[in-house]
């Protein structure tokens, strides 16, 4: 009996709050969701199948957590001083949860700009709330927290990396990533690889340099920095006209990277070059902007790079998820990386060396490229650069798709992605030799069809599409044959992953992040955010 009690006590302890076992990061998530995509692959796929096509009709609400942003009662931090003028503070008003929460040992960790919470994953009850008093910055979103041992890490709009004790929500330390005065703002979810906290940033209003950095999870000290543009004399410098343009060339890595533990390579998608749309001061391809770059996480050294948008002039960064697929091509097992890019191209690369296998538009409306070069990168049509009297271009700067996580199911071999076919007229406004910031304006005109699309990963061919109201969306596929997503019109939907037929839906408001799933007490939960609330579903 005593032995039984000890066993029982041990098993309860195992389910209680506590540190993250690093081994969980190296396999598909089952009873946790320990990193941004659940695992390092970026597939946003779960092997769980308790909820499947046959029973999903019975999916019902377990709980709702509405994010409490009140400063009162929160643990607070921040560098702002009484009487300080806010710096570049914008995008205020109601915030939505764009973060993909972590779930570790029965606790959910979720964030919004300036806020982080721990929530009981069984009940939806708040455990603690951390509130960061901001100096300013662009409050466009926060994509989540990272976890190492019992420590949490998240980035703030005024570009600090904050580390919290996961048990108490108390701050361990915070470190400045970049200076908000230079128009940097920070949204990414830190990704943790062994003893490396990988941190990126955003900001393209002021032609500042971008980089990815690695920090020590214990001390917060910088281990390495990798700049997204070269400096004179370095490889890639030949794709810029001069030192000034590359040093002010942007390329913000604001999408969390994916990682292959066997190859020990990070896959970092980089942002657009600066100045954003007036490009006369940066003739050339502008490496390593708008690229998928493979880096060694221990050193920050680049292994290879593939550019998705050479000499981009429409804000089409490559900050979409590089999805790691172990597939078969021409009968041979291959290690692949796929990306449905903002410019409307589907790319499939060999992730050992970056060699291109497929470059194919995945929307019909694209009108900006002349062809594809020998390396597989699209060749932009200079006639479609912004002009004084306007150029009609599809897509808009928001892209055919954007940052929300697509999903790849190894069961169906399909990559699922939310898309919109939009048009803008782009007017060049800064004709000087040294344009600044954007240097052009955009008039958004129309969308000619939004769809959830399923692409054959081997060819990029469209297998099916479902019309939606919104465009880009976060998606989750499961071994239950399901694809969880949204119609962009307020419904959270379970689709049949084979053919896109809707099998179940709930009108919770349009999902604002990508759904996730995990097992808890023998039940499979599906958790998604809509606006300021998290919704958990299970089979009762």
């Amino acid at each position: 009996m005593r032995r039984l009690l000890i066993l029982l006590a041990l098993s309860i302890a195992a389910l209680a709050q506590g540190p993250l076992d690093p081994k969980l990061l190296l396999k598909s998530a089952i009873d946790s969701w320990p990193t941004y995509h659940g695992d390092y692959s970026g597939r946003h796929y779960s092997p769980l199948n308790q909820i499947d096509r046959s029973n999903v009709k019975a999916l019902s609400l377990a709980w709702v957590y509405r994010a409490n942003t009140a400063e009162a009662g929160a643990i607070t931090g921040g560098e702002v001083k009484q009487g300080d003028t806010p710096i570049w503070l914008s995008y205020l008003g109601p915030q939505s949860i764009k973060a993909i929460p972590l779930m570790v040992n029965g606790i959910i960790y979720v964030s919004m700009p300036d806020n982080a919470w721990a929530v009981d994953a069984r009940t939806g009850q708040e455990i603690w709330h951390y509130f960061w008093k901001t100096k300013g910055g662009i409050h466009i979103g926060n994509r989540g927290v990272g976890m190492y041992n019992n420590w949490l890490f998240f980035e703030t709009p005024d570009c600090y990396l904050v580390s919290l004790d996961a048990t108490t929500g108390k701050e361990r330390w915070h470190k400045m990533i970049a200076d908000v005065k230079q128009e940097y703002f920070c949204t990414p979810a830190p990704v943790i690889v062994r003893e490396h906290v990988l941190v990126g940033m955003g900001g393209d209003s002021l032609d500042v340099p971008g980089w990815l950095e690695s920090r020590d999870p214990e001390t917060g000290d910088i281990q390495w920095k990798w700049y997204t543009t070269p400096r004179p004399g370095q490889p890639g410098a030949e794709t810029w006209p001069d030192a000034y343009s590359m040093e002010h060339g942007g390329g913000m890595p604001w999408q969390p990277p994916t990682y292959d533990p066997d190859l020990n390579l990070l896959y970092v998608p980089t942002g657009n070059p600066n100045p954003v749309m007036a490009a006369q001061s940066r003739r050339g391809d502008n490496l390593w902007t708008a690229s998928i770059v493979a880096l060694n996480p221990d050193t920050g050294k680049m292994a290879w790079s593939f550019q998705t948008s050479p000499h981009d002039t429409h804000d089409w960064d490559a900050a979409q998820v590089p999805v790691l697929i172990d597939g078969i091509v021409d009968g041979q097992p291959r290690k692949l990386v796929a990306q449905a890019a903002r410019n409307g191209f589907y790319f499939l690369l060999d992730r050992t060396n970056g060699k291109n296998l497929i470059s194919k538009p995945f929307a019909e409306s694209l009108n900006w490229f002349k062809g594809v070069d020998a390396k597989g990168s699209p060749i932009p049509n200079p006639d479609k650069d912004p002009k004084l009297d306007g150029t009609l271009v599809s897509p808009t700067s928001t892209g055919i798709t954007n940052w929300p996580a697509p999903s790849f199911s190894p069961d169906t071999g399909l990559l699922y992605v939310g898309t919109e076919q939009t048009y803008s007229i782009y007017y060049l406004t800064d004709t000087t030799n040294r344009p600044q910031g954007y240097g052009a304006i955009e008039r958004r005109l129309a969308t000619a069809g939004n769809y959830l699309r399923a692409l054959d990963y081997k060819t990029g061919e469209l297998k099916w599409k479902v019309p939606t109201t919104g465009g880009p969306q976060g998606l989750l596929s499961t071994a239950g044959g399901l694809l969880f997503g949204t119609d962009g019109a307020g419904n959270f939907i379970a689709f049949d992953a084979e053919n896109g037929h809707p099998l179940w839906h709930a009108g919770i408001g349009t999902a604002s992040n990508a759904p996730e799933t995990y097992m808890l007490d023998g039940k499979q939960y599906v958790v998604v955010a809509a606006g300021d609330s998290l919704y958990a579903f299970y089979l009762q």
Binding site: K181, L392, T422, R444
Partner: protein, 261 residues
């Protein structure tokens, strides 16, 4: 082109610049004093507008400038200069003058980031070719008449708005586009044969909502093809042109519409 065709474009980018924004305010008198002092002492190397000149870099991108607060850091920097790069020391620069110069530079940075408009002529097309497009390939006259609904349209809108509307009158995909145009029309036929029609409010995989001629709102659940839902878009012709539209045709049609005074 003549200046009378020039118009003002309102900045629609960046996305976040559209949002409510708390921006710093600068004392205009201090800024003006700073501008004069800067022009005299710094303008030769850095340009009168601080965007770079004879050998001196663009200061709107300078980390020293961006990180400065009220001239404190800048004054310290100026007192030492950067002799290795040919920047002289301005030893003994008064605190007030450093502050004025800093105010001028910070205001210039703010101006670069928040620039809202530019005067530019966008009417570059061939109005004759635009007329031919209107009556021919564009099939515009199927729905429109230059003596009817489009009479005087060149006087009603500035050329930028006119160009927007010629391509897509609906807009509404975000910021800076034209206001929403004609709504879609929907006919819903129930299994009983009963029909409802009106302006389409919302169509999802699960529901259709319309507003009928009496202003009544109706929502019906959808289950696959039941009830039957038929949508007609008065802008169908615009959508058909959109995917084929060249920039030349766009500029020609704008040039033609501008003449419809």
């Amino acid at each position: 082109m003549k200046a009378k065709n020039a118009c003002v474009l309102f900045l629609a980018v960046p996305l976040f610049a559209q949002m409510q924004r708390v921006l710093p305010k600068y004392d205009p008198a201090s800024r003006d004093r700073g501008k004069t002092a800067f022009g005299a002492a710094c303008g030769f190397c850095h340009g009168q507008n601080a965007r770079g000149g004879e050998g001196g870099p663009d200061l709107l991108h300078s980390v020293v400038v961006l990180s400065d607060e009220n001239g404190k850091d800048l004054r310290q920097f100026l007192q030492n200069g950067r002799p290795d790069k040919g920047m002289p020391a301005f030893n003994g620069i008064p605190e007030e003058q450093a502050k004025d110069i800093a105010t001028f530079l910070h205001a210039e940075v703010l101006g670069a980031v928040t620039a809202r408009s530019v005067a530019v002529n966008i009417v570059t097309g061939d109005s004759k070719a635009g007329e031919a497009y209107f009556n021919g390939e564009g099939k515009c006259k199927t729905c429109h008449s230059v003596t009817g609904d489009l009479k005087g349209i060149g006087s009603r809108y500035d050329p930028v708005t006119l160009q927007d509307k010629a391509i897509m009158p609906r807009g509404g995909t975000g910021f800076g586009g034209p206001p929403p145009g004609p709504q879609q029309h929907v006919m819903v036929t129930l299994p009983s044969g009963e029909k409802f029609e009106g302006a389409l409010i919302r169509l999802t995989l699960f529901h259709v909502t319309l507003r009928d001629a009496q202003g009544m709102r109706h929502t019906f659940a959808r289950n696959g093809d039941v009830p039957k839902v038929e949508v007609k878009d008065p802008l169908q012709g615009h959508f058909e042109n959109l995917s084929k539209m060249t920039d030349k045709a766009m500029h020609d049609i704008t040039a033609y519409l501008v003449t419809l005074k």
